[in-house]
Amino acid sequence: MEYGLDLEYSFNEFLKGFGLSSEIAHIIWLPLPMLLVLVAAVVGVLVTVWLERKISAAAQQRIGPEYAGALGVLQPIADGLKLLVKEDIIPAKADGILFTAGPILVLVPVILSWLIVPFGQNLLISNVGIGIFLWIALSSIQPIGLLMSGYASNNKYSLLGGLRAAAQSISYEIPLALSVLAIVLMTNSLSTVDIVNQQSGAGILSWNIWRQPVGFIVFWICALAECERLPFDLPEAEEELVAGYQTEYAGMKFALFYLGSYINLILSALLVSILYLGGWGFPVPVELIAKFLNLPINAPFIQVFTASIGIVMTVLKAYLLVFIAILLRWTTPRVRIDQLLDLGWKFLLPISLANLLITAGLKLAFPQFFGG
């Protein structure tokens, strides 16, 4: 499967044409995909915030944002601008350094995790070998930022919110990692590109969701819990804790939390689509269509076309999941903290362990279906 667009190679060759050395060409290339992905993440957040407002309005039979642009599409930008120019307040008795470092520690690991999100065979920042494991490791840093901001705010609601957030993300990390492990077992690789390629054999039929239905549900529940979305938004339960660890935050520091939680939601949706829904794969394999239409798969215009289909499919699947997450948020009640921990430790953990065991057994019994 070594075909596909290689933009980096073409770009470097293009720069070498101007007489630059390959090292300098590489250095000029490096920031480009990072900037692109950062912009994509921020635009994704704007779209998600707009969707959240509109869908919540529809769920409650309201109209929602209406005047800022057509159908209120500019409302998220207005929100962002408002947060940008608001006064940056640090409470008098708060711990200034930790108060500032907290939101940064929450946001940075989430953005770093975009390193491994593939939109096509070569359309990702870095195809690192440890791929999906890097995301699990990075997402475990986040609770430190939450604890830090909860402690530094010098407010009992903030501290309780921070402690709840840490407890929640520790307990849901384990079933999350175990369900990823079942996928890795089937793929024989941690790399996200390999995981997608393993599902690309027969289009929609070979997606992991059919082979890992239990893993899919466990992963989705855990991903929602890690994002602190509504059935599990205990760290910021308004009625009990004001706003949890965000209580004392205002202006841009609050915006960092806000941005972090929405980027995390999109990232989780992207990862669900990569792990279980075939990533950039079209429901019918693109190669089959090209063969049927007698088109050469390696021709440049076909390559550009399939790459754009790949990007559209990834984003489409991710936003379908974001839609489900938003719908869940506005239609389900919140669980209690003891129910949350019970669900994590007494239900999801045994189920994901059994799922891993059964996957290993099936892999040995039917290597052609479960061996990847």
Binding site: E23, I27, L98, V128, G129, I130, F133, L134, I136, A137, L138, S140, I141, P143, I144, L147, M148, G150, Y151, L159, G162, L163, A166, A167, I170, E173, L190
Partner: protein, 199 residues
């Protein structure tokens, strides 16, 4: 010097400085919360050093285990206890300091001895296994390192049972050290009244 080597050198210098200064901060700072957070920074920098050595799996495992689990639990414990009391002056502080310094110096001399006697053979970049190290670690864990790997889990089980016994005080009605009956009520912090009396 090529750009790659320069970048590596800069990264190594920054990471080493963060490790050393952070570790000193962990030991020397008065506030236990700052120490705990700095410990997380030290663990992260050590993971960065592993990355520089081409051991990306070990680096990610370091972040997951030490930062994501160990350090979070340390901070968690500190914040749940969070007593703001002054430390009692210790009577024989001088002799304690002498003993701890001598122990630390002995350990340091041992490490220096290891550093000087061991032959640090640097494998050339062609020999390094890089991404393959994940597979190699797995093979070792399930063959020649199987027993230590399993014994470590027994250790963790013992620690867990101990923690449960300590946390659930209804298991034991008497304090282990003093033999007095244990106070079963919730421990509450003495707090100042939020609103001062007007009278």
């Amino acid at each position: 010097m090529s750009i790659a080597i320069t970048t590596q050198f800069i990264c190594f210098t920054v990471l080493s400085l963060v490790v050393i200064i952070g570790a000193l901060g962990v030991v020397l700072l008065e506030s236990i919360v700052y120490s705990a957070f700095l410990l997380g920074g030290v663990f992260m920098s050590v993971a960065g050093l592993y990355l520089l050595l081409n051991a990306s799996f070990v680096a990610a495992a370091q972040v997951l285990v030490y930062v994501g689990a160990v350090n979070v639990l340390i901070i968690f414990a500190i914040m749940l206890v969070n007593k703001k009391e002054d430390l009692k002056p210790i009577s024989d502080i001088k002799s304690r300091r002498v003993i701890s310094t001598s122990i630390c110096l002995t350990l340091l001399s041992l490490l220096i001895r290891v550093d000087l006697t061991n032959v640090w053979s640097l494998s050339s970049p062609e020999n390094s296994i890089g991404e393959e190290s994940t597979i190699r670690i797995g093979e070792h864990l399930f063959s020649d390192y199987l027993l230590p790997f399993e014994v470590a889990s027994v250790l963790l089980l013992m620690a867990m049972i101990g923690a449960i016994v300590l946390a659930r005080r209804d298991v034991m009605s008497k304090d282990i050290s003093t033999g007095l009956p244990v106070d079963q009520e919730l421990i509450e912090k003495s707090s100042e009244p939020l609103l001062t009396n007007k009278n």
